[in-house]
């Protein structure tokens, strides 16, 4: 081929593979409606999110320079985004120099193929995994299963989810939707050796998980473990894995071969920059001053840990996120999950309603950008609307991602796409808002409409509008749940009447009577 380097402009950023776990089967409103009906789930979520929210608040309050750290974290992430190609090449160089092997994966399939091949070449029938969002996103466990390799999740919550054949619903605590009684049932079902007299005390359940995984850790069958990483330091090639239980240390230390699948956005420019992120992440995430264990490793360490290290750098839709200058900050996320815990929508709907590995406010801006929003019936087209724009997420974000602004921007993109697609701009909302736009941009017509709203609505009895049959397409969503005030005399009619009275009387006017409504 005669590809000159100038061929680059023909390469376009690409969305994630459709096989990725980034899109549900139905839109958010319908999925949320169903989840909202589950009282147990509501209780579990409310308890868990309020607990972690208050823990976070108290440890963040301790840090006097928190806002300055956020500013630094945000700027560092912009530095990474702005210089991503150079930093990626620098990372590859540093990792290689430290004895690691770097692989590049354009999409979920390619990453799956690389990891599968590496595991098969080493004869692994089982691999141990450290909780990782990237491998969840690309459905790595399923890919490995197709090749006859069993992936065992070693994080307690991931284990619960895996044993229950469930899907994660939270970035940090994937089993947040399960309570202790449910977890006990799951364990009894899945662990044949478990003593049935076990109670639902979290300590006993954690002990059961320890025993279940202990032999696996010590034997490391096939001796391959798979992890993600929280940070990948470009200048030294250091990978940082932040965890609590010690399962991460087991997987990063005891196998012969370690494979880490890491999104291309996880870069931190320099080792010293960890001083910012290792303060921001634990306090935002688990609400601790520091998480119990953080492992920093660089390539292969002779006589200490794995003999082989493979780093798989993953695109899978990240380049598509980068393409939008207004939306690319979504890639700054360090997966702390603070935005989920404070989100009034997430707190009630739970993570499954978002249909993606990345739920909550950050998921609502990340998933649709990774997959694209390709049509009115694309479930991910509903995600940017899954927010009341209350702004709580932005306040807690350790790297200051302005999630509400990106949400509105993505709505704008969704509407623009519909407007530009022939025959796709006739939905109820499209028609209603086009009509409203015409009315609200013509002061005369609007004036008349406002003055007639009161008299027209007087055909409805009562003082407020109660439950309505579906006469107007938009209103039932409101009146199913709440009353609506009935328009009376508009303000402008009152104002006119007052002006008139003032003109005729020398003294300031009294309040007018209710019947002066004509324009």
């Amino acid at each position: 081929m005669t590809t000159v380097n100038l061929g680059i402009p023909s390469v376009r950023p690409q969305h994630a593979s459709p096989s990725s776990h980034l899109r549900g089967t139905r839109g958010f409103p319908a999925a949320a409606r169903e989840e909202l009906g589950d009282e147990t789930l509501r209780g579990n979520l409310r308890h868990a999110t309020s607990t972690i929210q208050s823990k976070r608040a108290s440890v963040v309050r301790e840090v006097r320079d928190w806002q300055k750290l956020r500013n630094a974290g945000s700027a560092l992430k912009w530095q990474v985004t702005d210089h991503l190609p150079e930093l990626l090449e620098q990372l590859e160089e540093s990792v290689t120099a430290a004895g690691g092997v770097v692989h590049w994966a354009r999409d979920a399939e390619e990453a799956g193929e690389i990891v599968t091949r590496l595991a098969l070449e080493r004869g692994a029938e089982e691999v141990l995994k450290v909780k990782s969002m990237a491998t969840q996103e690309i459905g790595l466990n399923e890919t490995l299963a197709h090749a006859g390799i069993r992936a065992i999740e070693s994080d307690l919550a991931e284990l619960i989810v895996q044993l229950a054949d469930d899907t994660p619903s939270h970035i940090l605590v994937p089993a947040i939707h399960r309570n202790r009684a449910e977890i006990r049932e799951i364990f009894l079902e899945a662990m044949p050796d478990l003593d049935p007299s076990i109670t639902d005390e979290p300590a006993e359940l954690a002990e059961a998980a320890r025993r279940f995984l202990r032999e696996k850790f010590l034997d490391m069958p096939g001796s391959v473990a798979i992890s993600g990483a929280n940070f990948a330091v470009a200048d030294t090639g250091t990978l940082v894995v932040v965890e609590s239980e010690g399962n991460g240390r087991m997987c990063l230390t005891l196998p012969r071969t370690l494979i880490s699948v890491v999104g291309i956005e996880k870069i931190v420019p320099s080792f010293q920059d960890l001083e910012v992120f290792l303060q921001l992440l634990p306090r935002s995430s688990t609400g601790e001053r520091m998480n119990p264990y953080t492992t920093l490793f660089t390539g292969v360490h002779e006589g200490d840990g794995p003999e082989e290290f493979h780093l798989v750098l993953l695109d899978n839709g990240r380049s598509a996120v980068l393409e939008d200058p207004e939306g690319r900050s979504a890639l700054h996320c360090i997966r702390c999950s603070a935005c989920l815990n404070v989100c009034p929508v997430y707190q009630r709907s739970g993570g499954h309603a978002y249909g993606s590995t990345y739920p909550g406010p950050i998921g609502a801006i990340l998933s649709p950008q990774m997959t694209g929003m390709s049509g009115t019936d694309d479930p991910n087209s509903t995600l940017p609307y899954a927010s009341s724009l209350c702004g709580a997420c932005y306040d807690v974000c350790p790297v200051k991602i302005d999630i509400p602004s990106v949400l509105v921007h993505l709505r704008e993109k969704d509407v623009d796409r519909r407007r530009e697609t022939r025959g796709d701009f006739h939905g109820t909302w499209d028609v209603a808002l086009q009509g409203a736009s015409k009315l609200m941009s013509s002061p005369r017509a609007y004036d008349l409409a406002v003055r007639s709203a009161g008299p027209l609505s007087s055909v409805l009895g009562g003082t407020n509008i109660g439950k309505l049959p579906g006469i107007l397409p938009l209103i039932p969503g409101w009146t199913d749940h709440r009353d609506l005030p009935k328009p009376g005399t508009s303000f402008r009619s009152w104002w006119d009447a007052r002006e008139k009275e003032r003109a005729s009387a020398p003294e300031p006017a009294q309040a007018p009577t209710e019947d002066e409504e004509q324009a």
């Binding site: 430290a98 119990p292 492992t295």
Partner: protein, 255 residues
């Protein structure tokens, strides 16, 4: 099937995955954002760094108080001692342990009072062998007071990572001069040898995965004990005003 399930990412023939990803990223970034590009020197560094006056001026004993308080918050057991008393305290911390693994270059007097059978690690013990031991005794590289974090480097004093992970009881000896106040100072010390195998430990293994309720001890050591070696306390100045404080404070520091 809806159209959105069909759309597959395109791969360009003739390009390696690396070339293609970098080209995609360059193409994406070609659309500029409204703000200026952020260079390394644009990152605001007005947060408390390693050279911050609080880090520099906080009295060492105060830092150690904070460290102890934070470690105890994580339910680690802390013993404050002096170099002279350390061997006895370490032996007591190891308690009933019969088999104890230690890294190859641990100061010898730390184990001088230990009764247990010592396995000086030469890198050959398998995870199963380590699992059969009762405890591990290590030193450390740095301790960060504000977060209650003890930093191990994969070296002769902290040992290779497996030995401080598999045994269920970990006793760490922290020396006064290893204690820093904040995370930036800790990272600065680590940055002198960034490519070492580092483990930062803040309390015993824990999980909050069940209803966010914290449970100590999952896969890592379930017991964490810290022996903090401090300078000999300065004699009370009131009755013995004639004592030279300098000699008192330096007496044990080279132990």
């Amino acid at each position: 099937m809806n159209e959105w399930t069909q759309e597959r990412p395109v791969r360009t023939p003739g390009l390696s995955a690396k070339e293609e990803i970098l080209a995609r990223v360059r193409s994406a970034l070609a659309t500029p954002r409204r703000d200026e590009i952020t260079e390394a020197q644009d990152v605001p560094r007005d947060y408390q760094r390693a050279d911050d006056k609080q880090e520099q001026r906080t009295a060492p004993e105060k830092m150690r108080d904070v460290l102890v308080q934070r470690l105890e918050d994580y339910t680690a057991i802390v013993h404050r001692t002096t170099a002279a008393e350390a061997p006895a305290i370490i032996a007591a911390a190891l308690g009933e342990a019969r088999g104890v693994v230690v890294p190859s270059q641990l100061p010898e007097d730390w184990t001088s009072a230990v009764d247990a059978e010592l396995l000086v690690d030469d890198g050959s013990a398998s995870p199963h062998r380590l699992d059969a031991l009762d405890a591990v005794l290590t030193g450390c590289h740095t301790a960060i007071a504000i977060t209650g974090t003890i930093v191990l480097r994969g070296d002769g004093r902290s040992g290779r990572r497996a030995i401080s992970l598999v045994p269920d009881h970990h006793v760490i000896v922290v020396e006064a001069e290893q204690v820093v106040l904040g995370v930036p100072k800790g990272i600065e010390r680590m940055a002198e040898d960034p490519t070492a195998a580092w483990t930062m430990i803040s309390g015993p293994s824990a999980t909050s995965d069940i209803e966010l309720s914290r449970v100590e001890g999952v896969h890592g050591p379930r017991r964490l004990e810290v022996v903090l070696i401090e300078p000999e306390p300065e004699p009370d100045p009131a009755p013995e005003a004639a004592t030279d404080p300098a000699s008192a404070s330096t007496k044990e520091s080279t132990a």
